[in-house]
């Protein structure tokens, strides 16, 4: 619990050490450790896999027998509806999933922190308006919203990242705001203000760093959600058709009737991929939440 004492607002310098200590605590927790190991596994597969087993999307089957064929010595996990190698395709899909998950989360964090900070810090109409907007985005069902935006705006990878990022920030904004509301009244803020610091400086230099540990766990969970969102969107036919992802693979598998044709080798690998990556972030996020969230401590 020494990590938590170090995270107390007034001690700025202890923050890096506190983050390291939180990671250490998460590693010593069995659930957290499994999460880290799964994450290491999926990052290794995503980085090394396509180098060792490059996927060529144009390497289609030459005869009808090559299509949706079960595992063979040449194709370890069989072939898809075009006769392409499912094993190599699955390794290629890992990159898109991780990329979308991380970038969308980065957008979501920046937006959520900015809205939460201004909603919590400014006392006037701006704060109230920001909070109403946050509540609005909390209430709207996310998947239909993402579907509608992707259907109207377009299907490139950039748009998908933007859409997922801009629809998942509301919970972060709420957490940040409630923290800012209590920090704002602390004596140390009063002192800094008396020394003549501007609102902008107080908010970004003194309050923001003290909020970050609390949204850390939330960030990791948002990554899991973003990866699931990309997979779901792509599965529903709204993915980027020029990039192979686990979601687009499962979309092709579904529209070509892989499950009713018994082509388990086409169905299982991309799904396992999604589960491993999402489970990794979920386990780490859950463990960090227990360590960093003061309300959940000692559980």
């Amino acid at each position: 619990m020494s990590a938590l004492a170090a995270a107390a607002p007034e001690q700025d310098r202890g923050r890096v050490a506190a983050a390291r200590a939180a990671m250490g605590l998460a590693w010593s927790d069995p659930i957290g450790r499994v999460g880290f190991l799964l994450l290491a596994l999926s990052v290794a597969l995503a980085v090394v896999g396509p180098v060792v087993f490059p996927f060529d999307p144009t390497a289609v089957g030459k005869t009808a027998a090559d299509i949706l064929r079960g595992p063979t010595a040449a194709h370890w996990l069989g072939t898809d509806e075009l006769g392409r190698d499912v094993f190599r395709e699955t390794l290629a899909g890992a990159q898109v999933s991780l990329l979308v998950g991380l970038l969308a989360t980065a957008i979501s964090m920046v937006a959520g922190t900015a809205v939460g900070l201004s909603a919590g810090y400014s006392r006037g109409w701006l704060g109230g308006l920001m909070m109403r907007v946050t509540d609005f985005f909390l209430v709207i069902p996310t998947l239909p919203l993402i579907i509608v935006l992707a259907a109207v705006v377009g299907q490139s990878l950039g748009v998908i990242i933007l859409v997922i990022g801009l629809t998942s920030w509301a919970s972060t904004a709420r957490i940040v705001r409630s923290q800012v509301l209590t920090l704002r009244e602390r004596v140390f803020v009063e002192r800094i203000r008396a020394l003549g610091a501007t609102d902008w400086r107080i908010a970004t230099v003194h309050i923001l760093p003290n909020v970050l540990p609390l949204i850390f766990a939330n960030t990791v969970l948002v990554i899991a959600g973003s990866i699931l969102a990309e997979a779901t969107l792509a599965f529903l036919g709204l993915g980027d058709p020029t990039h192979t992802s686990w979601g687009t693979m499962l979309h092709s598998a579904f529209t070509n009737g892989a499950s009713s044709r018994g082509a388990w080798w086409y169905l299982v690998p991309p799904g396992i991929g999604i589960v491993i990556v999402v489970l990794a972030f979920t386990l780490i996020g859950y463990t960090l939440d227990r360590i960093l969230n003061p309300r959940l401590r000692n559980r």
Partner: protein, 326 residues
């Protein structure tokens, strides 16, 4: 009803009205001002002369100023005029009415199961906190939470439909079948519901288990639990009568948020199992870029979630003593 309860109710109703208006405005901007101009969408497909486009614009009222279009849009919404589907050539409102019942039928059963089983499993885990049973409940919940809904459905189809041939894998009933009695038909419907329901329950239950568990663990450390134990009440009375009763508040909030979640689940499950509901409708509409249907379905989903949240606010009036006795 005390004055403060009336004010609580009034502010919640005002919030609902404002949110509904915001959703309608958002929808209007998205579909009528952004690339979704219906005439441009139709003109994209065919070879329309400029004068035809002008006539179509007049027909849709797109030659009117934006604020006038907005008020016409709101009036149409209030009178249930949701436009005509591009692909079905039917009024969207009628399409929705046919589909809504199927979705409600599917989701009602899944929701009841998720909440009931989730609460019971969470209570059992919390009451044996730290045990092996508790740890495995947490891990299992996190695992189910990480499953993509659509993929879980596909795997169940493969195992129980294709491999074992136990259960039907698509639709809400056997097409073209004539049943000897009402019961045969009902059993056929139920058999079609089993796999979609199991999918939804598996994927969504983890959240309820974890919320119930952590809320109850929290409550069990409170002083009044110690008092109840000191009074000599039985373990079961303390747990259910004092613990669970007070731990359910976050669960009610989670149930309202669950409506938003289960709508996402319904879209995936109905797509995978070809269940003729709202979710399959929006999937079809997206593939065919049938904008009036996408728009109306989204609106209906959003309104449902807003009303569910309002309902949970009302529930608080009855169960939360801080609001009830105010």
């Amino acid at each position: 009803m005390s004055r403060r309860r009336v004010r609580y109710l009034g502010s919640k109703i005002a919030q609902v009205v404002i949110t509904l208006l915001a959703v309608a405005t958002f929808n209007f901007l998205l579909f009528h001002v952004l690339p979704g101009d219906p005439v441009r969408l139709q003109a994209r497909a065919g070879h329309l002369q400029p004068e035809d486009i002008a006539r179509l614009r007049e027909l849709y009222g797109l030659d009117q100023p934006l604020y006038a279009q907005y008020f016409v849009y709101l009036r149409d919404l209030l009178t249930g005029n949701l436009g005509t589907s591009f692909s079905f050539r039917e009024p969207v409102a009628e399409l929705l009415a046919q589909r809504l019942l199927n979705t409600v039928q599917l989701l009602a059963l899944a929701t009841v199961l998720v909440i009931l089983i989730g609460i019971v499993a969470g209570v059992i885990a919390a009451s044996r906190r730290g045990s092996r049973l508790d740890a495995s409940t947490v891990v299992t919940s996190l695992f189910f939470w990480s499953l993509p809904t659509f993929w879980t459905g596909l795997v169940l189809i493969f195992i129980f439909g294709v491999y074992l041939h136990w259960l039907p894998i698509s639709g809400a009933s056997t097409p073209g079948a004539h049943f000897k009695s009402f019961w045969d038909g009902a059993i056929d419907s139920l058999r079609h519901m089993i796999l979609p329901t199991i999918t939804l329950v598996l994927v969504d239950i983890g959240q309820f288990v974890l919320i119930t568990r952590s809320s109850l663990v929290d409550v069990m450390t409170e002083d009044f639990i110690l008092t109840a134990k000191a009074k000599g009440l039985s373990r079961r009375r303390v747990l259910w009568g004092h613990g669970v009763r007070n731990a359910l508040l976050p669960v009610v909030t989670a149930s309202a948020l669950y409506v938003a979640l289960v709508i996402g689940g319904a879209i995936q499950v109905e797509t995978v199992f070809s269940w003729p509901g709202m979710g399959e409708l929006i999937y079809d509409a997206v593939l065919k870029r049938d904008y009036p249907v996408i728009e109306a379905t989204f609106l209906l989903f959003a309104v449902t979630v807003i009303l569910a949240n309002f309902l949970s606010d009302l529930l608080y009036l009855w169960i939360d003593p801080r609001v009830r006795n105010a």
